[in-house]
Amino acid sequence: MKYTQGKYIISRKTAIARDIYSFTIACPEVAEAAQPGQFVHIRANGFTLRRPISICGIDKAKGTLRIVFEIRGEGTAEIAKLNEGDLIDMLAPLGHGFTVNPEFKRVVLIGGGIGTPPMLPLAQSYGDKATAICGFRNASAVILQEDFRNSGAETILCTDDGSMGIHGFVTQPFTEIAGKENIDAVYACGPMPMLRGIAEICREKGIYCEISLEERMACGIGACLGCACKTKRNDEEYFAHVCKDGPVFNAEEVLW
């Protein structure tokens, strides 16, 4: 099975910051197939389009997935109304995820805001080989820091207003690390300006970099061609699709 659609029980729901929720979902066959960086496509009652949400945790032994999402509009607000014990309708797992290479000795994970959750499965895979740099608007928007610490990864926290951790953007500590250490790979998810900055630093330093993109999406499986993203393949411009070719792309392929 590559992906399937079904209704699954929400076994745990927590509010982890203002308008940000964490669901743990009992879905053994989806958890079994899921890879870091993939996403689930969730039906919001009363809406035509599903909402793509990145996977924040994969527990194959327990048969659960964890998702963390922010209320961005009416669709995600509807999904946030679901409670423990309710059924959630998912088409999952979808998309092309991150490359996890056991040979890598040193990796940097960079998450900005609600782009942080998909970094957590990578932190759990790489453990103390990883440094997780997470950036948020302010202290009240900070999420998942304990989970990152529990993964064994080194954690660096930044806030835009300095109300917690380093006062500044994630690119500051990343530039320092990239200047003095040998890094095998960088993985990032967050706002486009952040991703572009990271991709530029990686290109200058010759560091392999994968980024996770988001786009308004319909089918979620590569059929409708709704979520186009300009990329370069074999030196030719190519409209890739975030749902199937991505959401994770080699940063070198993305045309900004």
Binding site: K2, L49, A218, G226, C227, A228
Partner: protein, 303 residues
């Protein structure tokens, strides 16, 4: 178990349900979920003479009970379709409606010519895409242009020719009659309705193309009305579509006069929608003791 088979232009369908062009690609992605052989047919992604990259993103927006799209006919070109997609679909035991489009009459002719030597069962000529600047809707909104492109494509194909109509016109029955006179074997309708959304925080349209085609349950009553009007105006079969999301909707569209039904946006909400709709149609017919779905086509008794 009711008999769900229908016949459109001499082509047998095991059931009347066809995923609409554009939502379903060339079928491969959905084969992961259910066998394509469960479907009556497939209307393949609109295909042009050469590869098209389509419009910039965002191409998709949610609307009340529906959605907008402005994909802009992104497709790999007719040669790729014939070499790599059609042979795969021909093994799936369903009717293939090869949906074609072009920016000029000449392009439509060339695409149809290339399909003539293939096994595709029917051609669905898209004269109504709202998302490309040239052609598309320009053909579909004038009786003269619609008739001209139909007449020219008719000359180069012996396959049943279905012409897909735009609802963005003053009188869809006039367009339908024009393409019937020009040699169309059937019409399919409705394509999407031109719509627009604006992000009031940024003052920018949600779609990068500014405007796009609206579909989903919100357009269903318009589809019923137009299918009914066209079915009463022409003597060729009508394939109905527009916001169908349940077996009851499909039955309703057939009562309005559709000989077969395409399913579009509903597939985004429920990827199993086409197969669910087939089951629901069967349940409805059984509950009414109707032995064949053919017996309901055009049976609405207007006041």
């Amino acid at each position: 178990m009711a008999d769900l088979s229908v016949n459109v232009c001499g082509v047998d369908f095991k059931n009347p349900i066809i995923p609409a062009s554009g939502v379903f690609g060339y079928g491969r992605e959905y084969e992961e979920l259910f066998p394509l052989s469960a479907l009556g047919g497939i209307a393949t992604k609109g295909t042009t003479l050469h590869k098209r990259t389509g419009n910039l993103a965002p191409r998709i927006a949610e609307t009340p009970s529906g959605m907008l799209n402005s994909v802009g006919l992104q497709n790999p070109g007719i040669d790729h379709f014939i070499e790599s997609e059609l042979p795969y679909l021909m093994t799936k035991n369903l009717v293939v409606l090869a949906n074609i489009a072009g920016s000029t009459v000449e392009e439509c002719i060339q695409v149809a010519e290339k399909l003539e030597s293939t096994d595709a069962h029917m051609i669905e000529l898209n004269i109504s895409c709202p998302n490309v600047k040239q052609g598309g809707a320009a053909f579909g909104t004038s009786c003269e242009m619609a008739a001209e492109v139909t007449r020219q494509v008719r000359k180069v194909t012996t396959k049943p020719l279905v012409v897909k109509l735009s609802p963005n016109v003053t009188s869809i029955t006039d367009i339908a009659k024009a393409v019937e006179d020009a040699g169309a074997d059937a019409v399919s309708l409705i394509n999407t309705l031109l719509g627009m959304r604006i992000d009031i925080n940024t003052g920018r349209p949600v779609l990068r193309n500014n405007v796009g085609g609206m579909s989903g349950p919100a357009v269903f009553p318009i589809a019923v009305r137009m299918v009914w009007q066209v079915a009463n105006a022409v003597n060729i079969p009508v394939i109905g579509m527009g916001g169908v999301s349940s077996g009851r909707d499909a039955i309703e569209l057939m009562m309005a006069g559709a000989s077969a039904v395409q399913v579009g946006a509903a597939i985004f909400t429920d990827p199993f929608a086409p197969v669910r709709i087939i089951d629901e149609m069967n349940d409805f017919l059984d509950s009414k003791g109707i032995s064949s779905v053919k017996d309901i086509i055009g049976t609405v008794q207007p006041w």
